[in-house]
Amino acid sequence: MTKLTFDAIVVGAGPAGTSAAITMAKSGLKVILIERGRFAGSKNLFGGVLYTEAIKEVLPDFAKRIPSPPFERPVTEQGYWLLSPDSVVRFMHKSESYKKEPADAYISLRAKFDEWYAAQAVAAGALLITKTTVTDFIKDEKGRVVGVQTDRPEGDVYAPIVVLSEGVNNLLAQKLGLAKMDLPPRLVALSVKEVIGLPQPQIEQRFGLNGVKEGVAIDIFGDATLGLPGTAFIYTGKTSISIGMGLLLEEFVQHNLHPHEVLARFKSHPVVKPLIQGGESLEYGAHLIPEYGYDRMPKLFADGVLVAGDAGGMVDALHREGTNLAMTAGRMAGETAIEAHKQNDFSAKFLREYRRKLDDSFVMKDLKQYRRMTDFLDETPHFMKTYIDFANDAAMRYFNAHGLPKRDMEKGIVKSLGQRRNFMGVAKDMMKLMRGMGI
């Protein structure tokens, strides 16, 4: 039997892997893209918003491809809700400048987008193999990775380079010792999400949208996550609404919480309920989000291996970014693999170039800036509840006209904060927040 040999193997057809596959296939490399799902995207789930800058860097003509990318709606309005148990303070930004073709960001569904994206890799010449789980590596006598084993009969595949984009459950990266540990519950978020179907006109009416060229992306803090460190979201699709919430897994574990009950509670909030009322539940799902942060992320290269995407912990939770980091990293992994082929050098020493490229890009710069964000959330579990309930109370007082002199109203607001947290406590929280944001 002849050995099945390629120029490059990509493990996992998500945003990182497919970006690597497209980049390498376009340069003429013989690429195999191995996906365990029935189709690319069938195991993938996010909030979610996709950013076109990262797609464009991989596929400059993505918007002109036929069929066109299966986006839901462009993001033309976005921002934050600070939710208290019975009210909300909204910080939303809506602008005509969001309306361009293609837009900067699109609300999307990953089972649809990833399948389309992988089809572009096939069009570029990559071989996509689905329903195939990579189970281990094949190493040479010096311990260098020279291929992978799969769960197909006679399923060994060889290549001088493997792009490892297996996702958040990075068991293969752990096997190589690149990830030193499995995800500790305090460094990973568990998110659950429901896709709720509603007729297009109803979505547009409820969210104040003028047709399918407008869409809203809302990130929600506070009561949506029981005041615990986490976020919730509502994104408008064409004929569906994506609604979900996530917490550090540690919070679910310590408090013995059912994620689906926290989600159900959020859905029944008086501000949220009318937006989804009468909708049909189309799908429920769950996914982990790696939040190792810059200082604990896995090593991203080894002899014959490059790691990209969630497998490498490439998520900026503060800005709900992940797929764009993954696509950029996947592209850079692909570019590095192309150079490695030119030099015929697949050593870790040479592949270090990949890390250098990432360091020079927003991927590592952002991860570095927010390196303390997870610690901040982890160390100040009271933060959301304290300040978000305060913001709602302050707004209530500010907007009331009950014959109270405004000076007394202002004093009341200050007092309301003091009752929640003393001066030193507030000062400490703000210091920690600034540190978390890398200011």
Partner: protein, 117 residues
């Protein structure tokens, strides 16, 4: 950093009972009725490594944090694994305080298949 053990964790504050009370009861079967699965009838990709360890675990957080309630207990309190409903998120592998849950990826093509994602 906080300790994984809530009893050792100075930042741990128990949830306000009123807040817990406000959580609606949800039948998880209703949640997953729309989820498409290709169940591997021959092989579970999840397993309890040692039932003795579970017997000593009082909190049994897996019964709660699993988003599809894969883990349930029988009349004797033994933990049962309903892997057929698993959405492969990975929470149980890392969330079990005793790392007592065996977890591998389902065979290629099996398991959850999101239509929307």
């Amino acid at each position: 950093m906080r300790s994984a053990d809530k009893n050792m964790d100075k930042n741990f504050q128990p949830l306000d009972p009123a807040l817990r009370e406000s959580l609606p009861k949800v039948n998880v079967d209703d949640m997953i009725s729309s989820v498409k699965y290709y169940v591997d009838e021959e092989k579970s990709h999840l397993w309890i490594k040692s039932h003795d360890v579970c017997a000593q675990c009082k909190a049994k957080p897996c019964l709660f944090f699993c988003p599809v309630e894969v883990y349930k207990t029988d009349n004797e309190g033994k933990v049962l694994v309903g892997y057929q409903a698993c959405v492969e998120c990975g929470s149980c592998r890392v969330g079990c305080p005793f790392l007592n849950i065996g977890w591998v990826l389902p065979r290629g093509g099996y398991g959850v298949a999101y239509k929307f994602g």
